[in-house]
């Protein structure tokens, strides 16, 4: 091997060590830069993929379109009416809370977003959405509290990294995403997280550190507890599938409420309710 090659190899090793010694903020900045560079290509690719997918489904007869339109109009009216009722209830609730000297609950501000890319790695569960810090989304690097991502069904995950117009979401199916949770109708509390490796498009979650003698039944709903200020309380995570006693604690297997295989549209909570 020539001396020049050995010298170059040593320089490359030093470069690698330099990257290893970078601070978390600097590494996150580098990642944001790369993702920003890739984002236009990913968005274009996603649009092409959606276009191709919709090609076969796009053709509908006039009758079908009319029926769809009628159904959607009715649904829209129902939702408007329901929204009005809920607004009235919210006002009344706030008034009563004020009377009881509670702090007024701040309203969630939901930013709608679309998933345009999924992680290609074998070991991590993340997706990219088409909203970034320009839309008020925060990954918690400065504030320490990353935004929560939900759908109308329940909890999806939390923001892990944010760029100008895009953000990366760490899904609750990832082992690194841990959520304090409680089981409906019981005093059982535990930590919900994904599993390291799972087959299939709709994976299951594990709820650890439960009371060993907890009486959990399949079908009971699991909600976020709201500890740690990352996830707001009361968000539906899933339902209990099974419960097993272990040496020191109990573990429940949770079926997530959200269908992660077909997940496409999500909401980012950019303003969380104040903690009581």
């Amino acid at each position: 091997m020539r001396k020049v090659n050995i010298l170059l190899a040593v320089i490359v090793v030093l470069v690698a060590v330099f990257f290893m010694l970078l601070s978390t903020g600097a590494v996150k900045g580098l990642q944001s830069g790369l993702l920003s560079l890739m984002a236009p290509f990913l968005k274009t690719g996603s649009a092409v993929q959606q276009g191709l997918g919709a090609m076969g489904k796009g053709f509908k007869s006039l009758d079908e379109l009319e029926a769809d339109n009628r159904r959607l109009s009715t649904e829209n009216k129902e939702l408007r009416a329901m929204n009005q009722i809920l607004r009235d209830l919210e006002t009344e609730n706030n008034r009563l809370r004020a009377a009881l000297d509670y702090r007024e609950r701040s309203v969630f501000r939901l930013v709608p977003a679309q998933i345009f890319s999924r992680d290609a790695s074998s070991w991590w569960n993340t997706v990219m959405i088409n909203r970034g810090f320009e839309d008020g989304i925060d990954d918690g690097l400065g504030s320490g509290v990353p935004n929560t991502v939900i759908t109308d069904k329940g909890l999806v995950g939390k923001i892990m990294n944010v760029q100008k117009n895009t953000a990366t979401v760490l899904l609750i199916t990832d082992e690194n995403c841990r959520v304090g949770a409680y089981v409906e109708g019981s005093r059982s509390k535990g930590i919900v997280s994904g599993m390291r490796v799972q087959e299939g498009g709709n994976p299951e979650l594990q709820m650890n550190f439960l009371d060993k003698n907890a009486d959990l039944q399949p079908g009971q709903k699991v909600y976020t507890q709201g500890v740690g200020a990352v996830f707001p309380p009361g968000l539906l995570i899933g339902t209990v599938k099974s419960f097993q006693q272990r040496e020191l604690d109990g573990q429940a297997i949770i079926t997530p409420e959200v269908d992660f295989a077909t997940l496409a549209d999500v909401f980012v909570i950019v303003s969380q309710p104040q903690q009581q």
């Binding site: 990257f19 070991w123 082992e175």
Partner: protein, 184 residues
């Protein structure tokens, strides 16, 4: 040298495109959700044919992008250090350089074998790294799914590499044939 530099730039663009394309390839549900990895195929194609300094440049670019795209933060620290894959790819690229004379003499199956080895090494090292980091909370997990998710992408990379080299050989052969006919 200029030709090799052009080849390196083309491969760098190809690797960037492969990172983007990989994200649109759905997991193979019939193989425990294994993913198709295109990047090691292109890296090995370059590492087996380019001179050593250019292989190093390709290793830095590929390794850095691999680490940044799989970057996970646990609390305030990074789960797998950025730069780790650069070291791994320099080591694997150096092995590729060892077989380079044979590849240039027409042993076209060697890059395919190296693609499989590189894919396997990247996935195995990532899995071992996260296992070590999560050992306290999740212990050591090794099952059929893990084996499949490491071996299947390696086999797929080998097949893709064979296709790539067959296409390159076919294009080269056609060009040579056309040149011969024109000279004749």
């Amino acid at each position: 040298m200029i030709r090799d530099a052009i080849k390196t730039v083309a491969l760098a663009v190809g690797i960037f495109a492969a990172f983007v394309l990989q994200m649109f390839i759905p997991p193979m549900d019939f193989a425990a959700g294994s993913r198709v990895m295109l990047v090691p195929v292109l890296f090995c194609a370059g590492a087996c044919t380019l001179p050593y300094p250019l292989m190093l440049a390709l290793a830095v670019l590929t390794g850095l992008m691999t680490d940044l795209l799989s970057l996970q933060l646990v609390g305030d620290s990074v789960e797998i250090s950025v730069g780790w894959s650069i070291l791994l790819l320099v080591a694997l690229g150096s092995i590729c350089q060892g077989v380079r004379p044979l590849v240039l003499r027409g042993q076209w199956w060697l890059p395919a074998l190296m693609s499989a080895l590189t894919t396997l090494s990247i996935l195995l090292s990532q899995y071992l790294a996260i296992t070590m980091r999560r050992f306290d909370t999740g212990g050591f997990v090794w099952n059929e799914t893990v084996t499949a998710r490491i071996l299947v992408p390696a086999l797929v990379a080998m097949v893709l590499s064979l296709w790539l080299h067959m296409i390159i050989a076919f294009v080269t052969w056609r060009r040579q044939e056309r040149r011969l006919l024109r000279d004749f």
